[in-house]
Symmetry: C2
Subunit: 118 residues, 2 copies
């Protein structure tokens, strides 16, 4: 799949929302979060998703935003399914001690889940 | 209803997501947006929602984030319903020429819709 750049800006809002909801559920406290390009870039590298070569960290983050947004827009994955994948992954970690590692793993799992459904 | 501050941070993510989705639908172009406290404050003043006295602009914005988030969490309103209300309102305006006015009206309508369902 070619993830189209036109979904990137929407993807930013969508991913912050999905992660805020997932972290709220995993931690039991309502919270609002932003997901960094650095985290998304590491998640992409660890995932099974085919990615164009030559991307820097920022471009990899943009790619992930567009990739997940396009899947959500095309109903490959619903909000509930995406949040379930993230929550399941987050719950395997201690969010207070290793949140960054937990978020990378969670988005890696979400990317792999979408790749499998494509 | 006392909107609890604990929903404010999640409300920030939720409102940016709802507005990004609504503007994408109203404009026909996928986009990611942030909703300012100033806009939310004006929407609250124009709405029929009871609000605590003595709030400054920033606190009014926080109140709206918490109010809408709590309604969404308690399933008073779903994502689709909220986006439908926002889109209907946005379509009454020229988004390129008067976006701020359009967003204030859209969130006023959403607040009134929630107030009526409570």
């Amino acid at each position: 799949m070619n993830s189209e750049k036109k979904f990137k800006a929407f993807g930013d809002s969508l991913l912050n929302f999905l992660y805020s909801l997932a972290k709220s559920r995993a931690s039991g406290t309502w919270t609002g979060e932003k997901v960094s390009n650095s985290v998304l870039s590491q998640a992409l590298i660890a995932s099974k998703v085919d990615q164009p070569g030559g991307l820097d960290k920022h471009e990899k983050g943009d790619f992930v935003e567009a990739y997940i947004a396009q899947a959500w827009i095309e109903k490959v994955i619903t909000t509930d399914e995406a949040v379930d994948v993230l929550v399941k992954s987050l719950k395997r970690h201690d969010l207070e001690r290793e949140e960054k590692k937990a978020v990378v793993e969670a988005f890696k799992d979400l990317l792999n889940c979408i790749e499998k459904k494509r």
